[in-house]
Symmetry: C2
């Protein structure tokens, strides 16, 4: 019979994920050992294999869940309205969502090359989905620019925030988002 309330396993799994997230973000996938992760959880290395089939899956699941949450969060937050309103909303959404998940974002950008080809393809597909979200909005905005190029330019700009934004800095989250809304608006406006 299944236990009525959470088994030890069900409580430990999130701890393993959290430890892996923190350590991978800090030191990089290749530089972090299963024994380090285990130590962070307070367990021996062998015990980790009750929660993940291997180290690679640990990384992959971190990235897959992150991308899934990103897509779901946008699907739930995506507003109706004029193309420009939706563009504003996307900029704010992206910045806030990414600020709240700095470690997962960092891993998802830095550890792509440590995925097996199959796992890489999955993540890449989800990333393409997210890029399409912005591309479609930009198309609706009717910018006279190269849609794909502008999409990638804007996304690079927005994601770049994570490399310098720190809580408690000169600008707070809302101020940063406001500034980028302004930047992106100008970016997509027709040339004078």
């Amino acid at each position: 019979m299944a236990r009525k309330s959470g088994s030890s396993s069900e409580k430990t799994r999130p701890l393993v994920r959290a430890a892996a997230l923190r350590l991978f973000a800090q030191g990089g996938y290749a530089a972090v050992s299963m024994r380090q992760i285990a130590a962070e959880v307070g367990v021996q290395a062998g015990a980790l294999y009750r929660y993940t089939p291997d180290k690679q899956s640990l990384l992959f699941e971190l990235m897959r869940v992150h991308m899934e949450e990103l897509l779901v969060a946008w699907a739930e937050a995506a507003p109706q309205g004029t193309p420009l309103e939706r563009l504003d909303a996307f900029v704010r959404f992206h910045i806030h969502h990414h600020m709240d998940r700095a470690e997962a974002v960092f891993i998802s950008y830095m550890e792509l090359r440590n995925l097996t080809p199959e796992n890489f393809a999955v993540i890449e597909g989800m990333r393409a989905q997210y890029e399409r979200v912005l591309e479609d909005i930009l198309t609706d905005c009717g910018a006279d620019t190269d849609g794909k190029l502008t999409t990638l330019a804007v996304l690079a700009m927005l994601t770049g925030v994570n490399t310098w934004y720190r809580e408690g800095g000169r600008l707070d989250r809302a101020a940063v988002a406001d500034s980028y809304v302004g930047l992106v608006r100008r970016l997509v406006s027709a040339t004078a």
Copy 2:
């Protein structure tokens, strides 16, 4: 007496650098072993230590030289002219320079955390110098925006090109640079 022409050492050193550059870019600093680098050069691992005191210095030198070349190249290419002309020139310079050095650029962004604190500080200082170049230009452009924020936004946008640009793709180098000049011009233009 010193040899008249280049010793074997002087011919091998660049090969070691090139192998390390390629392998670090491909697999990441932590995932690449000295034995792999040595194999690529066609030598035993121990022989590498005639060309570098240790693995860390190999990485650091790659990044330091890259940043130095970047700063020197701009110093030599930097034109006079109106602020907007200088901004255009910077955008073109940055994109072309980075396209030509994809591996070094990649390493310089991805392997920062694998530097010792002292080495990190050096690279970070050089990066700050380069950021100031653009910040000064933007200031001269008299944009009514937050100068530091705009600087980082533009740099993230420009450097992002390296994540998707591939030679032989839909757009050639010049077309990409032209597009980004347009994007950046709009970005810094006053709001309507």
